[in-house]
Symmetry: C2
Amino acid sequence: MQTMFRYNWLVREEWYRWCEDVSVEELQRTRTGGVGGILHTLFHIIDVEWSWIQELQGKSGFQESFESYNGLEKVRKLDAAFRPEVEEFVQSWELSMETRPFFDPRPNGTMDVDAWGEVMRHVIAHQIHHVGQLSVWAREIGKKPVSANLVGKGLINPQLLS
Amino acid sequence: MQTMFRYNWLVREEWYRWCEDVSVEELQRTRTGGVGGILHTLFHIIDVEWSWIQELQGKSGFQESFESYNGLEKVRKLDAAFRPEVEEFVQSWELSMETRPFFDPRPNGTMDVDAWGEVMRHVIAHQIHHVGQLSVWAREIGKKPVSANLVGKGLINPQLLS
């Protein structure tokens, strides 16, 4: 669980650096699929991660729209502002939280019940899925995407017998 | 760990069904990004999952190329042939395997060492990333992609207090 979050944060940081060499027009351009743009995708990833973790804690999610964050530095600042609380929550994760129920009222009046462990994995998969979309758009603008490799990042230390 | 594999297998199955309504030409068409095509991506996901899990067990991975599997039914059959052994390995996963070292000799003569836990998470992220690419290509051909949602699939039962 924590490993996948750390992977996502590392990859996100690499995408921010990747964006530094891309024009604002390309970052803001409307594209096919997903939420329809590179910066908008990064904003959406941050928003969804934050909002789910807020909601698990009984707080309200993020209500602002992308229009106020349509710039690389604004997106980075938003991420940095949210990160400490997200990290604290992820680091405090323990086994008993896996099956804790999260009650999610639907607009039609019914109630969805998700396990907290499902919500956290949903957040993990959510970023990776959207980053896959970024990788296609990167190629469309002729630029190599950030590697999606999880191995080679030193996320888990192998136990070497001496 | 197991939850994410089960998620990936469910999503993969949904993509196979999605492919049933798409012409062979679209499934085989060369596209921008990733491995360059819809069927090729599904083949690549199966290949990579199988090969890593084979290699962890000291067996050799899959050596055949996509050219022999360029059809939906062929891809499905390959997946079905590999699945039992992959599932058995995933289900037998235990904590002590997380940090077990995997030695991966590189073409340049150096040796990479990954923890088994990293390899397994790499395999998980690998599929989700490539499925994100499928979702863009789906929109390009005017078809709604398979949902990437992990919540709502009944993967973990919430513990409801009576």
